[in-house]
Structure formats: structure tokens, C-alpha cells
Assembly symmetry: C2
Homo-oligomer: 510 residues x 2
């Protein structure tokens, strides 16, 4: 990961975990034995860094729908793709998601309830965001304690790598090198003079070949270049895009951490409980793994790789993963365009009309629209900051909110009322709950609703309605085989989501 990318990550507003749950008390200072680096049989694990929101992808990304949960290519989220891409090399139970508590809950529900195949990785919970060095250290310590021989791949959750096969082949070669103690980085062979990525400069010659992959010593890490330099790099050769993907033994990275970031190492190996971790994290150095460790460490190597890769850094990245039409446009949704060029227009079910755009980005969602020239796509995160500052909610939540039992769409809200369309997937049900401050009217518009209301349970169908007075325990269930949709009219002096008391939940929510 390049320097600039690190700065970006650092600035993301990662929500703070109220209490960072750690599975069990940990021993002080695990003994890192240099001798371990020769043991050739360490198993491969994966630590997926998923702490960010990806606010450059607003208005598609929101605090409650981080970028890694977006379905950018195909039908599955970037995160699911990242996990699946590792198989069969790394099975899901050897995958760890490194994130904060709030995101972990969102990700857990997403991975277990989003339809399709389900995956249940482990979680490493950071009490707050402190850049990649801290996140990787926490994961490495966790892993090392479970398996001192562990080899870990470190992967961002939000990259697009469309072909998994060459990716896994490179990973496999890296695994061998890592087992021998190398800290392996993946350098993407540049196809054009890109100014949006950092570069890895290798020595000219490979010192080793594994399965056809060259293993080269890293000479230095290079920040995002200007176009002139980028062209020179391409011409000179030996420069690779820094993919932000790494692979090493947990023991080896901790060994380097102990030496180059001793404060971080000390803090993360000596805390006793969640409060201790939280206190320790606050004082950690906010630094990337590249700057904090890799630029100084021994045995840092690069594997040049050819798989098509995009870090999806901003809306501009769409051109690398979706094929533009003959005018250079990428157009999705209910869009009417007259003569635009080299533009990205992502609509939804609203009508968007564009005329004569050049190098523009339009992203439309049910409640918010972005209009921005391509060259200023990086500034979208500033928009998100302004929205937050203004007290708007469009940076936080979508109009349609995914839930483990289905989804709800906010149709309208006003003083003392809220109208939602609620969709419950077949055989799923909401929690048994009550609200202190609102009553609810439900009208079924498709499917069959099984309604628990106090002591009674009734089934109601299309065109039937029911009323849930405030303070009455209730539950909505879809006993049928097709989706249930109802319109809910909430009335009360307070109609926010927080007014919910859950008694029983299929999805272990509180």
C-alpha cells in the first residue's frame, strides 16, 4: 500500500467500538523465536482488513454500508469476493476479518444473511482505527497465539481481482517464500503510467523462482508519482503497483514489529482486557505497515504479478473494472443520455437525464445524488464530512436498509410519523420486540404475514391490516415460501430505530 493510500486510510472515520471484545485473556509477550522462520510447514491464514467505510464511494457507500459490502462487479460484495477468492487455498474458518465492533456486526449479518452461500470467518476487533500497522499487529498476535507457525496473507477487503486463479497461484508461490522467512509483497506489473497508486521498486534480478514467479528483493517503496515520473517508471521497468496485499509468517512480522514499532508491539502484547486494549490503542502510532515496518525491515521481497487488479480507490476506478461503451461511458440504471463522453453515470430507479457530459461522474441513489468531474473524484470524501457536519443522515444510512431477515425502505418521515416498506424473506422473522414510544399500523401488500401481537398469533394476507399499540410485544414473520411485503405506518412522539426492546432474535442482535 502506497503512502498516500495509507494517509487516506488513516483519515477514515472508523467508528469507535464501545467495548472491544477479546475472546480470552492473553499471555504477556509471546516469545518470538527467530528459529521458527525456518519451519516449512506453517498453515496459511488470511487477515482481511475491513475497518474502513470507503467514503469516496458515497453515495453508494454509507457508514452502515461500507464499500466492501457493495456489489461492484457481479452479484456478490467485494468482501465476499475477497473471501471466496482465497478458496480453496485458505478455507473460510482460517479467515479473520480485522475491523471495529460496529462494522463487525454489520459484516457478520451481511455474510450470514445476505443470501447465496454463507461464510463465517473469525473476527479481530479493533477498538478504533489506527492504520494498517496496528491492525496487522493485532491480527498477527492473535494468530501467533493460536498457531505459532501460522503464515498470514494480509488483504484489503475492497479490491477487485476478477480472476482468482492467477491470484491464488501468486499466493501459493508467496507462501513458500514466506515459510522461508521472507516478508512478501505483491507488485502488480503496470499496464499504464498510473498516478493513483504507490509503486514498489525492486532490484533488477530475481534471486529465486517459485512456480514461474520471480522473487525479487525490494529496493524501496515509492509514493504516488506525477504523470512524468509514472511514465519513466514504466519505461525503466522494475517498478510495480503496490497492491497492499502481503504475505508472511505471523512470527516474522511480529519480530520486525518488535524492532521497528516497539511501542505498538509492547502495547498489543501486554493488555489484559478490552478496556486495556482500548486504552492501549488510543496511544498507538498511527502508521501504515509500509512506512512503519516494511521500509525498514529485512527480507522484504516482491512477487511481480499479472492478475487484473483494481484497488477501487475512487469512482474513477470504475473504468478499470467495468467496460466503458464506445463513447467511453459507463451507464447503469434509468438514465437518458444525450451525447456524453468518458463519463460514469450510475442511476437507480429514479430518472436521470444527462446531456453532453465530458469526464463526469454522476451517482444517483434514492436519497442522494453526486455530480463531480472525474479528476476530482478524490474529494467525494470531503462531501461526506460536510454532510456529517451539517447533521444530514445521507452519509450514514441508505433509504433501503438490509436486515438479516430482509430489508426495509424508508418511504417518508415527518414529525411524529414514519412510513416504511418492510420486506421479509421466506421463513424468516424479525425479533420479538416492543416499542415504548410508537404504535404501528401494518398493511400487507404481498405474501402472508404471521403476526404475534401480545398473546395472539394471527396470519394476515394481502389487503389485510393490523395495529400494534405502543408497549405491546410483537413479532412479524413470513411463514410462506415467497417474500412478504408490508407497509408500516409508525405513529408516536419518537419514531427512531433506537426505540426497540428485543426479547428474542434469530440473529443474536441486542
Amino acid at each position: 500500500m502506497s503512502k498516500n493510500q495509507n494517509i487516506r486510510r488513516k483519515k477514515q472515520n472508523v467508528p469507535k467500538a464501545a467495548s472491544a471484545a477479546r475472546p480470552k485473556p492473553i499471555k504477556r509477550r509471546p516469545a518470538i523465536k527467530a528459529a521458527l522462520r525456518k519451519r516449512p510447514n506453517g498453515k496459511l491464514y488470511a487477515a482481511i482488513l475491513a475497518g474502513g467505510i470507503g467514503s469516496r464511494f458515497w453515495p453508494l457507500s454509507r457508514e452502515t454500508t461500507p464499500k466492501q459490502l457493495l456489489k461492484v462487479v457481479g452479484d456478490e460484495s467485494l468482501l465476499k469476493c475477497t473471501i471466496k477468492r482465497l478458496q480453496p487455498l485458505v478455507s473460510p474458518e482460517r479467515v479473520m476479518i480485522v475491523t471495529n465492533a460496529r462494522q463487525a456486526e454489520i459484516i457478520r449479518l451481511h455474510l450470514t444473511c445476505d443470501g447465496g452461500s454463507q461464510v463465517s470467518p473469525g473476527y479481530v476487533i479493533e477498538p478504533m482505527g489506527r492504520n494498517t500497522a496496528a491492525a496487522i499487529a493485532l491480527a498477527a498476535i492473535d494468530l501467533y497465539r493460536k498457531d505459532p507457525d501460522a503464515v498470514m496473507a494480509v488483504l484489503p477487503a475492497d479490491h477487485v481481482i476478477e480472476d482468482g486463479k492467477p491470484f491464488r497461484a501468486a499466493l501459493k508461490a508467496a507462501l513458500q517464500a514466506a515459510r522461508d522467512g521472507h516478508l512478501v509483497t505483491f507488485g502488480i506489473v503496470p499496464t499504464h503510467p498510473e498516478t493513483g497508486y504507490g509503486y514498489i521498486k525492486s532490484v533488477p534480478r530475481a534471486f529465486r523462482k517459485i512456480d514461474g514467479f520471480s522473487i525479487k528483493n525490494v529496493e524501496r517503496f515509492v509514493e504516488k508519482p506525477d504523470i512524468k515520473r509514472a511514465r519513466q517508471y514504466l519505461k525503466d521497468g522494475g517498478y510495480y503497483w503496490n497492491s497492499g496485499i502481503f504475505l508472511w509468517k505471523a512470527s516474522r512480522i511480529l519480530e520486525e514489529m518488535k524492532q521497528h514499532l516497539p511501542g505498538t508491539y509492547e502495547s498489543l502484547t501486554s493488555f489484559r482486557d478490552a478496556e486495556g486494549l482500548s486504552a492501549a490503542y488510543k496511544n498507538l502510532k498511527d502508521v501504515s505497515i509500509d512506512h512503519g515496518i516494511l521500509e525498514k525491515a529485512k527480507d522484504v521481497v516482491v512477487i511481480p504479478a499479472n492478475f487484473p487488479w483494481s484497488d477501487m480507490g475512487s469512482w474513477s476506478s470504475f473504468n478499470t473494472v467495468l467496460k466503458p461503451d464506445s463513447e467511453g461511458n459507463i451507464v447503469r440504471g434509468r438514465v437518458v443520455d444525450i451525447g456524453s463522453k468518458n463519463s460514469i453515470v450510475l442511476g437507480c430507479d429514479r430518472a436521470v437525464a444527462t446531456i453532453g457530459l465530458k469526464d463526469m461522474i454522476i451517482v444517483d441513489t434514492p436519497d442522494a445524488t453526486l455530480v463531480c468531474p472525474r479528476e476530482r473524484a478524490q474529494e467525494v470524501k470531503e462531501v461526506v464530512k460536510i454532510l456529517k457536519k451539517k447533521g444530514y443522515t445521507e452519509h450514514e444510512i441508505h433509504r433501503t436498509v438490509e436486515r438479516p431477515w430482509g430489508s426495509y425502505t424508508l418511504l417518508e418521515t415527518g414529525e411524529g410519523y414514519k412510513i416504511k416498506k418492510i420486506r421479509v424473506e421466506p421463513k424468516r422473522r424479525l425479533s420479538l420486540q416492543l416499542h415504548h414510544h410508537r404504535s404501528e399500523h401494518w398493511v400487507v401488500i404481498s405474501g402472508i404475514a404471521r403476526v404475534t401481537r401480545g398473546e395472539e398469533i394471527v396470519d394476515i394476507g394481502i389487503n389485510q391490516s393490523t395495529y400494534i399499540p405502543r408497549g405491546v410485544k410483537h413479532r412479524l414473520e413470513n411463514p410462506g415460501g415467497s417474500p412478504l411485503e408490508i407497509i408500516e405506518v409508525q405513529n408516536g412522539e419518537y419514531v427512531e430505530e433506537e426505540d426497540i426492546v428485543r426479547f428474542e432474535d434469530d440473529f443474536q442482535r441486542k
Copy 2:
């Protein structure tokens, strides 16, 4: 009105009136007496041309919300402003709206039910749009039969003239000239080399002065110039913007019509009933008053006028009527902008984020968004054509639809259901009606609803609901002093507006 403007008007898709109602059978060929032109006492009437949709103002304008009903400046629609601006010179009962049947009904409800002061002008109903010569002829004939001495001002419904006083002063001077038989045009003294308007070239010297206004003979009408020519016109002097506002005796314009458009004159003075008018209209020459008559007529004069005027031809015109900020931007609504210049961003209650725009127009409405460079603002009408062709509805109707009793907002629609928020103004009520194909659930969210359901009448309040089965006569009324709001969930195999049988209506709708 310039030639190009005429072409524009000609291409507007004016909805065709199914049956053009004419107040009473008319006599054949009114005798036009040249001698009349000397009679000095003709009363002043106004014919307001309001047949167009103004599709260049999409997405704010829709077929059911034509441009003249938009509140561009201040709290009243362009049309209301046009009518009020004439007072006290022309009282509302001497105002005629020239339009088609569909628009006449929309305008009638708008003028009588839109709150504020009510105005009740007369209507001249065209069976279809056939450009300004036909519309003015129809109005002139109508007027001449009522009052052979009538003087008529002809005014487009959708111009912005912010100060009514100098406008009425010019009108008053023109009235004197018209009584003496002149055909008076209003030329706006150019303030800059505008390429968007047609020009009127006068002879150098005024042959008469009335109340300080020069009366000059017209040399010729000039089409929209290129920038070089426009600069030359400004330098040369004697060129005025063609405002499209005219004033003449009905008898005089008919006299010229008889000579220069004898077919139109013949057809419009000899039809016997609505069918006859409709048949006649189809074959009328589609020509503007400028081209069809004024360029050839005798005694055409221009009054140079200084009142600030805008024809609101496209979104670009906003700069002439709303004051841009220091960066040249006009921004309205819930907009977050970073560094845009010379742009128009009109938002609504959705969030719109703009970054670094230059000379762009963004217009956002609840269901549709326009993004377009200023210089291509004319092409918005093409967008409307495409929307229509694609079978979308966003060219036709807004998400919130004004009704004489209040308004409704479509919140959501899907197969077999439709969700609306209905707002009823105090002391108003919907028609007594029934639906053959849908049932309705109503939940009150504010105010008190008096519900007629079959034989019973009940009042229900906030958080109460009622159910109207299909086929049951019902009525919704607001007996209270504050607005009533309800959520309506419609269920049925057919949930379109057409499924309504009205038994009784306060607003004489069918």
C-alpha cells in the same frame, strides 16, 4: 417573438383537447370595418397565451405542471404573476387564457385553488396547438364578437417581468397608439449582446411620443443573431429584443389576418361547433404571428421599453432573474457544493452533492434529476421526448400532485399496490367517489379526517385507521382548522388514477 422562438413554440407537444368546448355558436364572418380604427374608446383586454408545457424546464415542468404554473420568482406562479401584473390596467374579468382543454382544466384548478388570492379569467380553448397566429386569431375573433371596439394585449404566460409599474406604463402608452390603429410590439432595450432572442429593428426616429415613450415604425423583424451580429446590433442602436408582447385592436389584427392569412381567417370565422373548430384547426397554417402577419402588415410599430424582462426560455435564463452568488452560482435546496462556478444547482429535499462544476445546470426533483452544461440547456426538451418515447412517466407527472383540495405524494408503487401521502387543506374535501378495482387503507398521521364510508360518517384522528373496500362510496374531508395528512395504501389488480367514479365534487371535476 423571434422566428426561432416561434419554431420552438411550434414544436412543443401541446396536448390535444378531446373536445374543444366553445361557449356559444358564433356568427359567420364578423364585419371588420376599417372605420373602427379611428374610434378612441376601446377597452383593454388581455389574451394570455398559455398553451405550452415549457419542456425545456423539465424536470420542474411536467405535462401536468406546465412552466407557467412554476413559482420561479417569489411565491406565485408565472401565470398568476402575468395576470396580476396587468392590474389595475386590465381587470381579471377582461383577461382570457388561450390554451387547450387539458391545460385549461389544470390552469383553472391552479388559479382557483392554489391558495392566496384567487383569479378567474375567461378561457379560449384551442382544440390543439397551431402556433401563435391561430391562437391570437381565435382570441381576437372571440373578443371582437363580444366588443367590436376591444383592444387586446397579447402576452405569453411564462415571462418574468419583476417590476409591474414601468410595464404597465408602456402598456398604457401602447393602448393609445393601438386605439389609433397601430399594431404595437414591445421592444426591450438590449443591455448586452444576447444571442437567445430575436430582435426588432426600428427606423431611426420616433414619429410620436406618448407619456415619454417613443413610438417608432418597425423596419423589420430579425432572427436570433450570432454573437458578432448581436454585438453589432448593440453598437448600431435601433435594435430591440422582441418580447413577444403585442397590443392592438381586435378589429385591426383581424383585418390584417384576413389579408395575410386568409385561410386561417376564413376557417376561424366560419366553424359552427366544437367538431367544426377541431376539423378547421387541423388544417390551419402552423405559423407565428410575427411571420404570418406582422412582417407583412401595415402600421406595425415598436415601443422601446426598459423594464427588466426575461422570456425564461431555458434553465440558462435563471441567471437573469435570480441573483448569482460571488462565484456565479445559483444554489437552492439541500445542496453540498465544493468549489463550483457559474452553475445552477436547484435541489429539493434530497441531498445533492456537487464538486468543481463549471457552467453546469443541475436540477433535482424527488423523482428525476437533470445534469447538463449551460450551453446545452436548449436540449432539455429532447430529453423530454426521449422519456416519453421510452414510456417513462417523469415527463408527465410529479411525485407530488397538486389537487384543488390539497395534494398527494406518491411514496411507492409496485405490482398491485400504491402508497400515497394525502394532504387535505382545512375545510376542504375530496369528491364522493368509488373505485371498482382497488380497496384503500387510510392511516391518519396528522389532523382529523372525516370519513364517509357507505352510509356511515366517522371522524378519525392521529394513529387511527380505516378501510375502504372496493366498490364502496367514500369521501375524505378535513373538518379541522389545520391540514389533514393520511397515508393511503391502495391494493388491487389495478391501482391507476383512472379508476375513479365521482358522484359529487366541490371542484366540478368529472
